[in-house]
């Protein structure tokens, strides 16, 4: 995977066998889900350094050794030696226990900051690495407030020219962002957003730095309680066009930076602070273009590993931006009909590996077909013969079939022609199957769609009867769920029994 070797998280550092890794991953996933439920889903990233690739083991030093190393740094006057001293300290800080020891030393951070700003570039680098290790600490005592002395300098250095150094500063800041609202306010006040804007401009050809900017920004805006100040500041900063320029379909950047920028756009769109501004700056156009490109790639079978990490935020961004105004006004940005094809292709391609992605893809279709002026998109779905692909998704749970039924209901709501086309596409037999499903919500939606179809034209009611749909409805009348019982009865009374002279009571 791109860049993944360089950027790691501590959890992945210990190399274990596959089973243990899978077990850890499962446990980790459970933790993440719990954290998300508490709105505490936070990740930090650790940049590995070149000399650590060979260094497989971590030496955990005794606490006095750590203190010793620090004292050498503190008191050392020889700048050449200082670099080595700092390196030794940085290596010691690989071990989390050393973090606690270090911060207990008086003025430890101040010393590091001094070296960060010192004249020697290598010392700066090593000092930055030390701070980076601390920013990634698992200990809650080593929090961002402790490190706050460093932040004004880190932010200032974002406008510097050295890519490696800048990258370190970015990830350090990015790790600090989620810690608390106070920290974020502080960073905002210290000018992090214009600094990021500057940084991405200066280093726009360097994929590692662009990825780091994307990461830091995403950490900043995905935290809680950011809608009042941070997001408006981002929207006003001029960052959006720069992020969008990373999204160009023929980007040479590889997926890493594009992924980060896409997630930034998602966080901005779902906050719903000023989606009109986002659209005005071309977000919808760029995101849909990229989705089409990805759809084409998926159709050709070239599904790169990790591509879903990019599709996901793009879908979410587009889905939410569709509510930013009347669909007719947005249509120029949605003019490529291949978008609809891509939105139908993603569920087919990712159904088994990432069903949630399939569901979100259909959610975007819902937002395209549910607006007041969605008729052009609904017509397009028929013109491009995409409805059968949707109908094929109806057997699948995980919320997929409910979302598909919503889309079909939206289309049916357009009018009689649409209902007839839906029937031609084979919807009625499919509804006969969904009406038998165990999930009551699925049955409810199916009854709604069926009702819409039959209300639009009596011949559809006849067709439903021909599909042996009557006994299915009659069976539902015996359910203990009132919602579906009432609807089934309603459909039978209003649409079906007038058409059926045959006594159907024998089926009961």
């Amino acid at each position: 995977m791109w860049r993944l070797n360089a950027v790691r998280h501590k959890a992945g550092r210990q190399g274990s066998d596959l089973e243990e890794f899978k077990f850890k991953r499962r446990e980790h996933e459970k933790e993440l889900r719990r954290a998300r439920k508490d709105s505490q889903l936070v990740s930090k990233r650790l940049l590995l350094n070149d000399d650590e690739e060979e260094d497989g083991t971590m030496d955990t030093l005794a606490s006095d050794q750590v203190v010793e190393l620090f004292n050498i740094v503190r008191h050392g006057r020889d700048l050449v030696k200082k670099e080595a001293d700092l390196r030794a300290l940085r290596k010691a800080l690989r071990s989390p226990s050393a973090h606690l020891i270090l911060i207990k030393q008086p003025n430890s951070i101040a010393i590091l900051v001094t070296n960060l700003c010192g004249p020697n570039p290598q010392c700066r680098l090593e000092a930055a690495r030390c701070l980076h290790e601390l920013s990634h600490s698992p200990h809650s005592e080593v929090d961002s407030l402790r490190l706050r002395q460093a932040t004004p300098y880190l932010i200032t250095f974002l406008s510097g020219q050295s890519p490696k150094f800048t990258e370190l500063c970015l990830y350090t800041l990015g790790n600090m962002c989620p810690d608390s609202e106070n920290v974020r306010d502080m960073l905002l006040a210290q000018g992090i957003i214009p600094a990021l804007n500057n940084c991405i401009q200066i280093h726009r050809t360097n994929l590692a730095v662009v990825e780091a900017v994307g990461f830091t920004l995403s950490q900043l805006i995905s935290a809680n309680y950011v809608t009042e100040r941070i997001i408006p500041a981002v929207l006003a900063s001029g960052l959006i066009p720069r992020l969008l320029s990373v999204l160009t379909p023929d980007s040479q950047f590889g997926l890493g930076p594009v992924i980060e920028c896409a997630w930034c756009l998602h966080y901005l769109a779902c906050s719903n602070v000023d989606n009109g501004a986002l659209v005005a700056q071309g977000t919808l156009l760029h995101c849909t273009s990229l989705l089409v490109t990805l759809g084409v790639a998926v159709a050709k079978g070239s599904i790169e590993e990790g591509i879903e990490l990019l599709i996901w935020p793009l879908l979410r961004c587009v889905g939410n931006l569709l509510l930013s105004g009347p669909l007719g006004a947005l249509q120029p940005q949605l003019n490529d009909s291949r978008l609809l094809a891509a939105l139908c292709a993603f569920p087919q391609a990712f159904l088994q590996t990432h069903p949630a992605l399939a569901r979100e893809s259909v959610w975007v279709l819902n937002n395209l077909t549910a607006a007041a002026d969605s008729s052009v998109f609904c017509s397009a779905l028929f013109y491009l013969n995409l409805v059968p692909a949707l109908i094929q998704l109806l057997p699948f749970s995980h919320g997929i079939n409910i979302m598909v039924l919503r889309v079909l209901g939206n289309i049916a709501h357009q009018g009689r022609e649409y209902c007839l086309h839906l029937a031609q596409a084979g919807l009625l037999p499919a509804l006969c199957a969904t009406l038998k499903m165990a999930d009551t919500e699925v049955v409810t939606f199916s009854l709604e769609v069926l009702g819409q179809l039959m209300a639009s034209d009596p011949q559809l009611a006849e067709e439903f009867v021909k599909q042996s749909g009557l006994p299915v409805l009659e069976a539902i009348q015996y359910s203990n769920q009132e919602t579906i019982r009432l609807r089934a009865t309603h459909l039978l009374e209003h649409h079906l029994l007038p058409h059926c002279p045959v006594d159907t009571s024998a089926s009961q």
């Binding site: 993944l4 998280h9 959890a11 596959l18 899978k22 499962r26 980790h28 996933e29 998300r36 990740s43 990233r45 998602h266 089409v292 998926v298 159709a299 990790g306 879903e308 979410r316 889905g319 939410n320 003019n335 009909s337 291949r338 094809a341 891509a342 087919q348 391609a349 088994q352 590996t353 990432h354 069903p355 949630a356 979100e360 959610w363 819902n366 077909t369 607006a371 008729s375 052009v376 609904c378 749970s397 995980h398 997929i400 939206n410 709501h413 009018g415 009689r416 649409y418 086309h421 199957a433 038998k436 499903m437 009854l447 769609v449 009702g451 209300a455 034209d457 579906i484 309603h490 209003h494």
Partner: protein, 359 residues
């Protein structure tokens, strides 16, 4: 994985045709009156409530959970594991909606088989499930049609009387040795007594009808080559009151509430897939000569052969057959079981079927 149509659509090189504004728009709207009238019932209450709605999702929405987890696993470098533990799409299960059934199936074929077996062609009187509409009609006619029962009963009585009388040429009526054959009275009796009911042949398309069950059974065995142990209709049984009450309490179905409840058994009824474990004895309370088919359903029944000259032996302990509406896994066991060869007491059976007297 991807359908060819979709692939073609996405990989087409000519972009001009793919503009949305170039696609012809279908006409919007419904016929006047067709849309609204059906959606509101008489009292104006909306039964169908779906309206198209765009959905805005904020970052913490549960729909976004899986994607967020995936993102963070990537950030934490745990997403490179090739073996996924992430949730895969499940096919929806199907459920039988008949109240009291609620079985769940993984395919629609399984559900349909269940429904067609247990819930179609169900007799509303006795909740038996028959294999086809025709057999259901025959069942209803033969077991739940009171006129049919009366006529059949009368036929038996008349036949019994006939046996001791001289034969009538019209109906093989046999006149009593001590009485002259009073043709006119007898003829009148034919008009007073409507023609006896006919038992239809079970095979579709045959159309033959018979005066008695036995005759039909013989016909079906001889002509249509049915096995002699085919599930022929069985005589109604008379249950113990206690068991009848137990049944009503346990099953909660609407059984006939009479002092001794008889449970009719249907023509070619469907029994459950599980082997019948309960045993019961049947009564032969037909006064016809001969033995009820002893070979029918040897697992379930043992008939006592009776000689109609002596009072037929009556057994009392009857096990219920399966009530087809019960879930198959939930068969009730009744504690009161009688082994095959025991019989209790004697008594005669009188009266109309279905309205049995206290034993």
């Amino acid at each position: 994985m991807l359908q060819p149509g979709l692939i073609q659509l996405l990989t087409a090189s000519d972009l001009a045709d793919l503009r949305i504004d170039a696609i012809p728009k279908l006409q919007v709207g419904f016929r006047p009156g067709s849309f609204f009238s059906s959606f509101r019932s008489q009292d104006g209450e909306a039964k169908l409530t779906f309206i198209p709605q765009q959905i805005l999702l904020n970052k913490d929405h549960e729909l976004f959970e899986d994607g967020d987890i995936h993102r963070h696993l990537y950030l934490q470098n745990l997403s490179t594991c090739p073996a996924h533990d992430s949730p895969t799409a499940r096919q929806c299960e199907f459920r039988c909606y008949i109240s009291g059934c609620s079985q769940v199936f993984s395919t629609v074929e399984d559900y349909e088989h269940h429904y067609n077996t247990l819930h179609r062609h169900v007799c509303s009187s006795c909740q038996r499930s028959l294999p086809s509409a025709r057999l259901l009609d025959i069942h209803i006619q033969e077991w739940h049609d009171s006129l049919f029962s009366i006529l059949a009963e009368r036929q038996d009585m008349v036949a019994n009387i006939h046996a001791h009388k001289r034969m009538c040429t019209h109906t093989h009526y046999v006149a009593h040795s001590g009485l002259d054959l009073d043709q006119s009275m007898h003829t009148v009796s034919h008009s007073l007594f409507p023609p006896p009911p006919k038992y239809q042949c079970l095979v579709e398309g045959c159309g033959s009808k018979f005066r008695t069950r036995e005759q039909r059974k013989d016909h079906v065995i001889k002509i249509h080559k049915y096995p002699s142990d085919f599930m022929f209709d069985k005589v109604k049984r008379i249950k113990n009151i206690k068991i009848a009450k137990n049944n009503m309490l346990q099953k909660g179905t609407s059984m006939e509430v009479s002092m001794s409840v008889s449970e009719p058994e249907g023509v070619c009824e469907v029994l459950s897939d599980q082997p019948e474990e309960e045993e019961y004895m049947e009564i032969n309370h037909s006064l016809e000569p001969g033995i009820l088919d002893p070979a029918s359903n040897p697992i379930n029944t043992v008939e006592l052969s009776t000689d109609h000259d002596t009072a037929p032996i009556l057994s009392v302990t009857i096990q219920p057959t399966t009530n087809q509406q019960r879930p198959q896994h939930n068969r009730e066991r009744h504690s009161y079981r009688v082994p095959r060869t025991v019989c209790f007491g004697q008594g005669s059976v009188q009266g109309f079927r279905g309205h049995g007297r206290r034993i």
